[in-house]
């Protein structure tokens, strides 16, 4: 687990950030020590330990299949940066 393994440019592409080379370098510089710090988890022997991914160890909370009211379309589209009468609008997507 080398701390140089976090490639900011690669991760920016996944996260959709368009950073300047200077910003990129700054994040690379700041994240290095953080990655080095979290590497301390590799000290532990975790054989046989189950992961905890939920806030409480509880299961089986499901919803009945009952229709609830939706928002009206005017409300749905009101926050849109760009919309037609019926749809959210965005630049044409090239397939």
């Amino acid at each position: 687990m080398s701390d140089s393994s976090l490639d900011v440019a690669h991760v920016c592409a996944l996260a959709h950030f368009d950073l300047s080379p200077e910003e990129m370098a700054r994040f690379q510089r700041e994240l290095g020590p953080i990655v080095a710090y979290v590497n301390k988890l590799s000290e532990l022997d975790l054989t046989g330990i189950e992961p905890t991914q939920y806030g409480q160890p509880v299961a089986n909370v499901l919803r009945e299949d009952v229709v609830e009211p939706s928002l009206d379309r005017e409300t749905v589209l009101r926050n849109a940066p760009d919309a037609s009468e019926t749809e959210f609008r965005m630049p044409r997507i090239v397939e």
């Binding site: 996944l14 959709h16 991914q53 939920y54 806030g55 509880v58 299961a59 089986n60 909370v61 499901l62 919803r63 009945e64 299949d65 009952v66 229709v67 609830e68 009211p69 939706s70 928002l71 009206d72 379309r73 749905v76 589209l77 760009d82 037609s84 019926t86 749809e87 959210f88 609008r89 965005m90 630049p91 044409r92 997507i93 397939e95």
Partner: protein, 478 residues
Amino acid sequence: MKYLVNIGLETHVQLKTRTKMFCGCLLSTESEPNTNVCPVCLGLPGALPRANKEAVKFTVMSGLMLGCEIARHAEFARKNYFYPDMSKNYQISQSERPLCLGGSVEIHEGGVPSGAPKRVRINHIHLEEDAAKINHYARHSGVDYNRCGTPLMEIVGEPDLASPDEAMEYLQKLREILVYAGVSDCNLEDGNMRSDVNVSLRPEGSAKLGTKVEIKNMNTFKGIHAALEFEIARQTALLEAGGAVVQETRRWDGDLGETFSMRTKENAHDYRYFPEPDLLPVDLSEEQVEQWRKALPEAPEAKRARFQETLGLPAYDAGVLAAQKPLADFFEATLAAGAPAKLAANWIMGDLLRLLGAASLDVADLRTVTPASLAALLKLVDAKTVNGPTAKALLEEIFKKGGDPEAIVKERGLAQVADSGAIEALARQAIEANPKPAAEFRGGKAASLQFLVGQVMKLSKGKANPKLAAEALRKLLS
């Protein structure tokens, strides 16, 4: 060199729930754009998914029908990618811990009925949400989030299929089973059932699978068949020319009838799956699974076998009647109302299906002829109370307008004349009126008897039993 083909299908099936997978919005393909939409569908800040129990039930029922092992611990996961059809920019799906594991679909080798039985393995079945619909216009694109969050069940098959025909049979069987289970309409026009396929070729004698190519964008079974045929030919030509198949995703263009390589970027996704912390795991109890198992309909294969073994139907009849659940249900309800099995099978497969076909009507939507009225009619036939042609005419009438066959027969005096004295009198009348054919029959011309039977029927206004009429004529002319 000869190449062997391995085809695997990943089939997305839209579940027949009333509401979406993770919110209470109505599922409907007929609504105006963006009207079945709420904060969850839109991925508004603070919106949280709420898993639909019915979708879990339908997935487990499908797993049970397909012989899967039902997971005792299932989890949802987030699949991360940016695209405007997924409002949160991640799709809630299942990854490490799907609801159903293993299972299989029975087909025939070569995809033909005469082929040896073949088992196509299923890797797993998981539950996920569908994406929104994007419409493309001249200057911009638009998103309608009505479809966003529709529950989809993904059935991931192993690459056990050896030809496009086998793939077709696999899909048809799968569809039959899921429609049977009542979990999906599997309506292809509405996109209820969509498949991505992967194909690889390997030289005969090699056990190792070749390089896999995925193909997307087939909307119909026919399209899948055509895409597979094209892709197999393409890969065969490539390998025969000494080339190598590249692992990639290709897009089927139905108009051109060809597959095209999608941009490599599409293949370089890093989906960063991780457990969905907004939804709790699903730990199904033995009791719950048993309860759902009991609610399962009989699988089509089992029904087919039962029709043959316990009702004594021929294999062909059993196959036709069991293929569609509504038809099988109608058939069994008719038996339950007292009709003899073979007679019911013949009349349903013959006259009733013909009438339905001519009217472009599905048996599920049939309201005029009911299992009870059909059974009543067939009882009259069986008891020879009405003759064949009268029964046919009666069925047509009931198909058009409905009605009780017994009442109609009584009201119009359609009961066939089976009184041998009465028939003999009519036969005598017929012989007297037609001395020439009578003499011909006496002289050995067997066909003349048919003419005389027709005359007896005419005299009886169609009500005479033709068999008895022939017997009476033979007796008088001997």
